[in-house]
């Protein structure tokens, strides 16, 4: 635990040092990065220790704050969430050093590093806090720090809008959390989490209310549809290492919070599971559909985050259903699957955002439609992006498959053979997860294929360059860990969960890990066959003539790069098919007449919920409240009359 406290204080001190030395970009970057990496490494020690030993650590310290207590507790769940936080933050910090350095002449790096380290520290604190007030304080600190990081380039209007939306969404979420925590504390007569296990004896109505508040409050952070609206704004706006951290681990604190609260609430009602499952399905399917329709690389990744959160939530949903209907297979494997997906998503989404950042860094562009041919110019970034894309599509042999497999597996072995109560949700999950799988292949083949392959569609691609080593190494480590985790999951999972699950449950997990081990064998066979085939091919080709020429152009004499399929055209057929959900806005001015003016076509996919739900809701509420503005009309006579009327009303009412 001491290590953990050291780590927290390192974050704070290094952040302050970076802030103080803000005049020197180098010094502040140095302090920021060094503190971030050192803190993360120190923090990893207790986390891994807890994960491997199964012995929780706790710490308490008198905190002079009414209602508050500085109680920290690292148990299995905390440790499991801490690991990706520290790993990704350390790598993103390293990456950010070089990434941000190019902004040194126009922006204050010291402040950005200060916020970054505070963000990392507060995330860690959120995960280990065992007191409601401490949790909320860390939660708000995290929101504030990430807000400042998002508005790093606040000169841009889109960035300001993103920051605004982010802060509002997260604050409204916090309002729900405030209500929830206080109500729970009231019921448990304590603000400390350790006293909250008695909440499970509450009537189910009360627990249901807590559950709903938690889903809304934490869902706003985690990006549950329709509360996700800030993600597609904030992630593109933030510097890439920040988006990577936010998307990879910060939104997971929402998932963590939800699981933590569920752990207090005891035996779940069946509708909890249904709710989470429905949210998961909506977030997953709509998330990936919206991702597909985007042409901004980081926006696409942001929507894909919504999708992945959806998958995690689906897993949690069937976990709850498993508990409610007492099907241990669903419970155990569903839970392990969603936790594993949390870890995996942190790795590959972190990686993908870093790659997107590298592309942005190298070309200054985020629009996929203008990219092309980057694989030749940014070899490493392209390779890493490919790894990330395979992983995020859930394709074997990388890690994404493992967690999706577990969730499927739970449904196939636990849900489908069971009664209708569990078979129907399992069925729904399988169907939608398979749809998500198919669509994410479409989405990421577009992202990779259009951006990295083909010919450049814009001249700024021609002088694109690969990033420096400081940025490559973190990406490389993440890509490598995606592969390694994919291969090693059958060994890793039982080792991690052995101290957490009961023997009976471990037995169930054992079955799933057996399948995983077979998959690893298949993956090894795959690599082996691939090697042989490559050998055969090179043997065959080495004695034959190998020519290079232009791409087959159907005989058309003057093909240009502009004639290539773009991202938008690639997704058009899909977008049209799912237009019911997407409500794409198309603008077509077709050429007319004999000597037509230049025609144009444009297509954009604004967020459905933002356009159709939240904006109208907010504007309506605003307008309704504006009606009250007529009360302040400037006539003093009536003002005095207000006083008198108020007095008379009170006299009549209260006396």
């Amino acid at each position: 635990m001491t290590f953990f406290l050291y780590s927290l204080s390192i974050f704070l001190v290094s952040g302050l040092l970076a802030l103080i030395s803000k005049r020197s970009a180098f010094l502040s970057s140095f302090f920021g990065i060094a503190g971030c990496v050192a803190g993360c490494v120190l923090g990893l020690i207790p986390s891994i220790q807890v994960l491997l030993s199964g012995q929780g650590l706790s710490f308490s310290f008198p905190w002079a704050m009414p209602l508050g207590a500085f109680v920290l507790n690292i148990d299995f769940l905390s440790a499991f969430f801490l690991v990706p936080v520290f790993v990704l933050c350390a790598l993103a910090g390293l990456y950010g050093g070089q990434y941000l350095y190019s902004y040194r002449s126009t922006h204050c790096l010291g402040f950005s590093w200060f916020c970054f380290n505070i963000l990392v520290g507060s995330m860690a604190l959120v995960i280990v806090a065992a007191n409601a007030l401490l949790f909320l304080l860390a939660w708000e600190l995290m929101a504030l720090a990430s807000f400042f990081l998002v508005i790093f380039e606040a000169k841009k209007e889109s960035v300001r809008k993103a920051g605004w939306m982010y802060l509002i969404t997260t604050h409204i979420g916090t309002a729900f959390l405030l209500a929830m925590f206080l109500l729970m504390a009231q019921s448990a007569k304590s603000m400390n989490f350790m006293d909250w296990d008695k909440l499970e004896y509450l009537p189910s109505l009360a627990r249901g209310i807590f559950f709903i508040l938690a889903v809304v409050g934490f869902g706003a952070k985690a990006g549950f549809m329709p509360l996700h609206i800030w993600l597609p704004e904030a992630h593109p706006a933030a510097p890439s290492h920040v988006s990577s951290v936010m998307s990879g681990v910060m939104i997971k604190t929402g998932i963590y919070g939800l699981i933590r609260i569920l752990s207090f609430l005891g035996f779940p009602s069946f509708w909890w599971g249904w709710t989470l499952l429905a949210i998961g399905i909506i977030s997953g399917v709509l998330g990936i559909l919206f991702a597909l329709a985007q042409s901004d690389l980081k926006r696409l990744l942001a929507y894909s985050t919504v999708e992945n959160v959806g998958i995690i939530t689906m897993g949690l949903g069937i976990t709850l259903l498993g508990i409610a209907y007492q099907i241990p297979v669903l419970t155990v494997i569903g839970f392990v699957g969603s936790l594993f997906h949390v870890l995996n998503h942190a790795l590959y989404k972190g990686l993908l955002f870093l790659c997107a950042g590298a592309v942005l860094h190298g070309t200054g562009m985020r629009d996929i439609n203008l990219m092309g041919g980057l694989l030749k110019r940014m070899r490493y970034t392209g390779l890493f992006f490919l790894a990330g894309a395979i992983a995020i599509c859930g394709l074997p042999p990388l890690n994404g498959f493992g967690s999706e497999f577990l969730i499927y597996f739970a449904c196939f072995t636990g849900g489908i053979p069971g009664s209708h109560n569990v078979a129907i949700p399992a069925l729904a999950l399988i169907i939608f997860l398979s749809l998500i799988g198919g669509l994410s292949i479409a989405c990421f083949s577009k992202a990779f294929g259009i951006a990295f392959s083909g010919e450049p569609r814009h001249e700024s691609m021609n002088h694109a360059h690969d990033t420096g080593w400081l940025m490559k190494i973190p990406m490389g480590i993440l890509a490598l860990s995606c592969i390694l985790v994919g291969f090693l999951s059958p060994c890793l999972l039982p080792r991690i969960f052995q101290n957490y699950l009961s023997a009976e449950h471990l037995g169930i997990l054992e079955k799933a890990t057996f399948s995983l081990s077979q998959i690893t064998i298949a993956s090894i066979v795959f690599l082996f066959l691939l090697g042989i085939l490559a050998l055969v091919r090179s043997l065959l080709l080495c004695v034959r003539k190998v020519e290079t020429t232009v791409t087959w152009d159907c005989g058309y004499a003057a093909p240009t790069a502009r004639m290539q399929y773009t991202g938008t055209s690639f997704s058009q057929i899909l977008v049209e098919f799912y237009n019911f959900f997407l409500r794409v806005k198309q603008k077509l001015s077709a050429p007319k007449g004999l000597f037509p003016e230049p025609g144009s076509f444009s297509m954009e996919t604004p967020d459905l919920f933002q356009e159709k739900v939240f904006s109208p809701l907010f504007v309506r509420t605003g307008n309704v409240l504006c009606i009250l503005h007529t009360l302040q009309h400037g006539r003093i006579h009536l003002y005095v009359l207000y006083i008198i009327v108020m007095l008379i009303v009170l006299l009549l009412w209260k006396l």
């Binding site: 503005h629 302040q632 009309h633 400037g634 006539r635 006579h637 009536l638 005095v640 009359l641 006396l655």
Partner: protein
């Protein structure tokens, strides 16, 4: 003696009605002064006649009458001269209606009094409390219904007169220091308000408060 006091009270009531019903400043301000003198004379007498004249009463009378009866009307007249206002422009509520309102207010005042009797009010005279309430209400009506700033000041003074009565009705003999503090406050208030009216008339060329509507949402 009892009859005399009753009559005084009724006269105070009537002055209020007169204030409500008249449009000319030349009538209102002397009426206000008259009301002030009546208060200054009647109340201490009413209160302390049984005990005989004390220094307290003497001081009170000596301050109240010059202040309420002479100084306030004087200040108001000065304001009128400076701002060149003769009569109230048409108020929100026409004069007959405001007299009618005044009668309603009278009913309200007696009703409030009836609510309070039996609650062991140390009231010295049955009419004291209704008169107090009534005067306050009339002041409020004046403030709310008249358009000129000067009339609002007038209303404020009327209201203060009512409160003076009320203070005596409720608290009986209040400490002199407190009385003086209150009187000073009222005096300063009237003073400050009249300066404010000067400034307004200088800036706007009118003192129609209803036209001061620039600050709004």
């Amino acid at each position: 003696m009892e009859q005399l006091i009753n009559m005084l009270m009724v006269v105070i009531l009537l002055t209020n009605l007169l204030l409500l019903g008249s449009s000319r400043m030349g009538t209102c301000i002397p009426t206000l002064g008259f009301q002030g003198i009546l208060l200054g004379l009647a109340l201490p007498v009413l209160l302390f006649l049984p005990q005989g004249i004390t220094t307290h009463i003497l001081v009170l009378v000596l301050i109240t009458i010059p202040l309420r009866g002479i100084l306030f009307p004087f200040i108001l007249f000065r304001v009128i001269r400076k701002t060149n206002i003769q009569r109230e422009i048409e108020p929100f509520i026409s004069y007959p209606v405001s007299i009618f309102l005044g009668i309603l207010a009278l009913v309200l005042a007696f009703w409030m009094n009836s609510r309070l009797t039996g609650m062991s009010v140390p009231s010295l005279h049955p009419l004291l409390l209704p008169v107090a309430f009534y005067t306050i209400l009339v002041g409020l009506i004046l403030i709310v219904s008249r358009k000129l700033a000067i009339n609002q000041v007038l209303g404020y003074i009327v209201m203060e007169n009512g409160m003076y009565v009320l203070g005596i009705a409720f608290a009986g003999e209040v400490h002199l220091l407190l009385e003086l503090g209150v009187l000073m406050d009222v005096f300063v208030a009237v003073f400050v308000m009249s300066i404010a009216i000067y400034r307004i008339s200088r800036e706007f060329d009118h003192i129609d408060v209803n036209q001061l509507q620039n600050l709004k949402d």
